[in-house]
């Protein structure tokens, strides 16, 4: 039974939950195959099989599912995220993701395991969220629960590091669980500060360091192919990069409480809360809203942030990425933005 290969697409919430899933499957002693990093070829295949007007992250996801199928995995692990907070759901495309995959890729050989995720918080480690997985792979409930608990603890340790100021990027390259465990322990015991907190940056420029909050979903901010590696580009230009995953839940919660009616999309709310938090923070020089072509919730969020940025008198820029974004355009725009921030600081 342990020869089964489970494929996890490196897309969407992989960037949020990967330490949890890697730990979970390693505890269950199951072989995991992660799809290749997003590339031109992978994306092209995804684009070909998706509706032209659907958002880029979904196109990327379809590319990754096809990539896994080519690797001849037995199962594709594709949870249907419905809610991770009371009364708030995710974007309709998340809710309908397994349906879209099943019906638009009928030639898929691998079986799709799509548990419905319904949790009260970001902690999705309840057994009810993994029932189908346990049934399909004939894992006893006890064993599953133990593994889930360990995975949840592991993920919490990782999350605490993010709150300290580490980027998801700092962990992403690692897929072997032993290495990831070591890395997390190393960071936990290290006296060195993460990049976003450092006084001095070892970048190539000698110009003044600026602080930018990069507001965007994990699958836009950390997919280095789709965003042309924007975080590293910013770092090289002498920028301390801040993202929403560094903002603690309670801070986001407080910002949301000020709205008469929060939005319906969990991660959009998280971005909103984080952005408002950064707007108010003196140290932050500018905010970049990184959004993907066709993102519906972002069309609402973007408008709100744009108006709020004016109220707070914060520099604000929207950067839209799609399947054909040219690298030079991103560089030109962030360079111009950073120059402007430096001028403002003088």
């Amino acid at each position: 039974m342990k020869n089964i290969k489970i494929g996890i697409p490196r897309a969407l919430l992989y960037y949020y939950y990967f330490p949890f899933w890697l730990k979970l499957f390693s505890e269950l002693k199951l072989k995991v195959v992660i799809s290749d990093k997003t590339s031109r070829d992978l994306l092209d295949r995804g684009v070909k099989k998706s509706l032209s007007e659907i958002c880029v992250p979904i196109k990327v996801m379809i590319g990754h599912v096809l990539n896994l199928d080519k690797k001849e995995v037995d199962y594709i692990f594709l949870p249907r995220f419905r809610t991770i907070r009371e009364d708030v759901v995710l974007c309709p495309k998340f809710l309908g993701l397994p349906d879209m995959i099943r019906h638009s890729l009928p030639s898929l050989k691998a079986e799709v395991i799509a548990d419905i995720i319904e949790a009260e918080s970001d902690d999705i480690s309840q057994f009810s969220n993994h029932k189908k997985l346990a049934e399909e792979l004939k894992i006893p409930k006890k064993e599953m629960e133990t593994a889930l608990k360990k995975a949840a603890e592991f993920w919490q340790r990782y999350r605490n590091l993010l709150y300290k100021g580490y980027l998801v990027d700092d962990f992403l390259g690692v897929e072997k669980i032993e290495v990831l465990e070591k890395l997390i322990s190393k960071f936990e015991n290290s006296s060195k500060l993460p990049q976003s907190q450092k006084e001095e940056l070892n970048s190539s420029t000698t110009e003044e360091v600026v602080d930018i909050a990069l507001i965007g979903y994990v699958y836009d901010v950390y997919d280095q192919y789709i965003n042309m590696d924007i975080t590293n580009k910013l770092k090289e230009m002498g920028v301390r990069v801040h993202t929403f995953s560094m903002v603690r839940e309670d801070i986001i919660e407080k910002e949301l409480a000020e709205l008469r009616k929060p939005m319906f999309w969990e991660f959009t709310n998280k971005l909103y809360g984080a952005a408002e938090h950064y707007f108010k923070k003196q140290e932050i020089d500018g905010v970049i809203h990184l959004t993907a072509f066709g993102c519906g919730p972002d069309s609402m969020l973007g408008q709100i942030l744009e108006i709020d940025a004016k109220d707070y008198d914060k520099a604000f820029m929207t950067l839209r990425i799609d399947e054909q974004t040219g690298e030079s355009h991103i560089i030109t725009r962030i360079e111009a933005f950073i120059d402007l921030l430096r001028l403002k600081k003088e």
Binding site: D87, L95, D99, H103, S104, K261
Partner: protein, 361 residues
């Protein structure tokens, strides 16, 4: 209060509602090129088309000194439920900070706010009057829908203009109505009028029917869906929609009625397992229902980039193959050209007739 509301479907219904409650009602302008351009200019680029149209309508209404806008809310995950909040921001940013947007959300979401707005809208009317008003408006909508369904059939076999004239007259007359008794009378009058054309309907095997499904705003609002129904009728096909205004009111005002609708919508489960917002799953159910009732094709309308309808569009190819029913999906936004829609509809309908002919031979 000098109030107005977004334009959708037969707007006289809302006008009637607020008028009967004793408010000074300003009729919103029908969406046209000018309004759409205005809306597009002041809306986020990737907002869905209905959002942009409504922005345009609101801004146009600002010229008429409206102080209150009433709109529906919702708890998502379709973006439409959040329109009101974003429109507030946009209007305030443009300097219209004195206007109030009243968003009618479900009392379940925030009952105190709900109570506040109901009290406000109620004005000086008594609760009994309110109940009576709602009943009149609901009956009015039902009557209108009933007449319209006839129109959508008869227009296929008669000159569009002739039937449209009757339909316009009917709307005009319904608009003057004051009591529930008048509704019945007016309805019967126009149904009789339409009945005179009954003979034009051919034998059952020669009838062609098209079901229209999709996002509610573009399905209901003729002025932004390029009069798609008239176009289909023009080529000799009958039309029926998945949604009428009655359904919308029922869904929003009386959430516990409508068993038969629920059953149709449940059929969508085969393709979309859980409720994903908007009417996506219901639409899939309606598509299956149309097939079971012997319809010849489905036209699926959606605003460009509509979140729930993109999911239904993703599964609809599979449905079309499995249930052997042709489906044409049309995305609508500010760039949709009339000629484009006309050509696509014509080609689609030709294809259906051609296929039918070959099968007979």
């Amino acid at each position: 209060m000098r109030l107005s509301f977004p334009y959708m479907g037969p707007t006289i219904v809302y006008k009637k509602l607020f008028e009967l409650l004793g408010h000074d009602v300003v009729m919103p302008p029908k969406p046209n090129k000018e309004i759409i351009d205005l809306g597009v200019k002041h809306s986020p680029e990737f907002a869905c088309f209905p959002f942009k149209v409504i922005t345009g309508i609101y801004l146009k209404l600002m010229e008429k000194d409206v102080d209150t806008l009433v709109t529906s809310g919702g708890h998502g995950p379709c973006r439409a439920g959040y329109y009101g909040e974003v429109h507030k921001k946009i209007l305030r940013d443009l300097g219209y900070d004195q206007v109030e947007i009243i968003v009618i959300d479900s009392p379940r979401d925030d009952y105190r706010y709900f109570y506040e707005i109901v009290k406000k809208l109620k004005g000086s009317s008594s609760w009994l009057q309110v109940a009576r008003t709602i009943k009149i408006v609901y009956e009015l909508t039902k009557a209108l829908d009933e007449v319209e369904k006839q129109v959508e059939v008869l227009r296929a076999y008669n000159e569009n203009g002739v039937i449209n004239r009757i339909w316009l007259d009917a709307q005009e007359e319904f608009y003057q109505i004051k009591s529930a008794r008048d509704i019945e009378k007016t309805k019967n009058k126009y149904l009789t009028k339409l009945n005179e054309f009954k003979d034009s309907i051919p034998a059952e095997e020669d009838r062609y029917r098209i079901g229209i499904i999709g996002e509610i705003y573009v399905v209901l609002e003729q002025s932004i869906n390029n009069q798609i129904e008239e176009k289909v009728n023009y080529f000799g096909f009958e039309v029926e929609r998945s949604q009428y205004l009655t359904d919308w009111i029922r869904e929003n005002a009386f959430p516990f009625t409508g068993k038969e609708l629920e059953e149709i919508e449940k059929k969508g489960e085969e393709f979309i397992e859980i409720e994903i917002g908007g009417h996506a799953r219901g639409n899939i159910g309606h598509a299956i229902d149309f097939k079971e009732r012997g319809f010849d094709g489905i036209i699926h309308l959606k605003p460009f980039g509509c979140l729930p309808e993109l999911v239904s569009q993703s599964v609809i190819d599979d449905l079309s193959e499995k249930y052997e029913i042709p489906v044409l999906t049309i995305s609508i936004d500010e760039q949709t050209a009339d000629a484009n829609v006309l050509t696509r509809v014509e080609a689609f309908l030709d294809m259906i007739k051609e296929k039918d002919m070959r099968e007979v031979m």
